[in-house]
């Protein structure tokens, strides 16, 4: 039997260890081709905001779905709703928060017939098809475009000609208007006096976060949103009414109008009277 060269094997393994230590710890490759999934959480939020803004501008839901799939969120709708609530809580731009919430609503309405699994497979496949690193040879009719690039002003007519696309759907479709399906006086001594509770549901009775609610009264108007108290539900919002003031409420995205809302007077078991509250439920048909 031939003698095993232990010393050479030992040198080989030592070299292997040194090489791995250098390539993994001391000098790992610099990342220059990362996927959006590898982004830090706050940058992922920026990415979602950009997707929502682009969707708000173009109304192109399939493309927004493809872009969202790049982030590989377990549930893109939940991610968007949660982000919308965080943006409002952090007093970020309400417009951007609205765009994110609108995309979540559109996704919910638009993807009702599309199971998540399909989004996770077919859409990801689209993503891979769309984002290919292969450098495609330019089609025969395209290369001449390159000759125009130095002349920024010359491209202006193209810009003007293309603006027609923006008129397609400037505002995302949010689905059918909400109907007022419930309006109840609430007499509960455990709740604050004059508490107006609003619950917003979609057609599947799933609570919708980020819905803007407009409340008006004589000489005043305010807006508030569902989802700021997630512990009470994504579609929950509340407002403190002043006694003897009559309010009108509706959802900004379109709904029935709940008018003539005043703080009800309730009677406790002890016979004492107190101001109760009102609970409104809006739902998409």
């Amino acid at each position: 039997m031939k003698h095993i060269p232990w010393d050479i094997l030992l040198a080989l393994f030592a070299g292997l260890a040194l090489g791995l230590a250098y390539s993994w710890v001391i000098s790992p490759l610099r990342v220059t081709n990362a996927d959006p999934t590898a982004l830090r959480a706050d940058f992922k939020e920026d990415f979602r905001s950009a997707i929502a803004a682009a969707y708000a501008a173009t109304g192109d839901l399939p493309r927004a779905q493809v872009r969202l799939a790049l982030l590989k969120d377990p549930d893109p709708m939940d991610a968007l709703n949660a982000q919308s609530q965080r943006m409002r809580a952090d007093s970020d731009s309400f417009q951007e928060a609205d765009e994110v919430a609108a995309l979540a609503v559109a996704l919910e309405n638009g993807s009702g017939d599309i199971p998540t699994a399909i989004i996770a497979t077919e859409v990801v496949q689209q993503v891979e098809d769309f984002f290919t690193e292969t450098v495609l040879p330019p089609p025969p009719d395209v290369p001449l475009v390159l000759t125009e690039t130095p002349q920024t002003i010359e491209t202006q007519p193209d810009v003007i000609a293309a603006t027609a696309r923006a008129t397609q759907t400037p505002v995302p479709t949010l689905g059918a208007p909400f109907t007022l399906t419930g309006q109840d006086n609430v007499c509960d001594t455990n709740l604050p006096d004059g508490l107006l509770q609003v619950i917003v549901l979609n057609s599947n009775r799933r609570q919708i976060g980020g819905a803007k609610i407009i409340i008006t009264w004589e000489g005043g108007e305010e807006q508030f949103f569902t989802g700021l108290k997630p512990e009470l539900g994504n579609g929950y919002a509340d407002y403190m009414m002043t006694p003897n003031v009559t309010y009108t409420i509706q959802l900004a995205s379109g709904s029935d109008i709940a008018a003539g809302l005043t703080t009800p007077t309730c009677q406790a078991q002890s016979g004492e009277t107190f101001f109760g509250g009102i609970k409104l439920t809006f739902q998409q048909p």
Partner: protein, 115 residues
Amino acid sequence: MKSNRWVFIILALLAGIGLGLAYGWLIDPVDFFDLPPDTLRADYKADYVLMTAEAYRVEQDPGLAARRLAIFGSQSPSAIAASGLEYARAHAFADSEIAMMQELVTALQAWSGIQ
């Protein structure tokens, strides 16, 4: 120990180092997470610029567009948008998309001049 034995040992050590480097850099490089956006692949960056351009076309707010592009860090917003535009032209994006990105670049260049 014979001197040519040492030669074999050194050769084995160098081969091991080479194998380790190849494995660590090419076959199974380190997985990174929590990365900044400037590490994104060029096509993703270009698509982000396109999203910003699509939004800009309706919002017409160069400051907001610049803020969106600022996540890429060190370059100026117009330079970032120009990089995206360059990629779009080189990879046969739709003419309408290139037009939107061009519009964004022009607007950001003008906006940078005002700042």
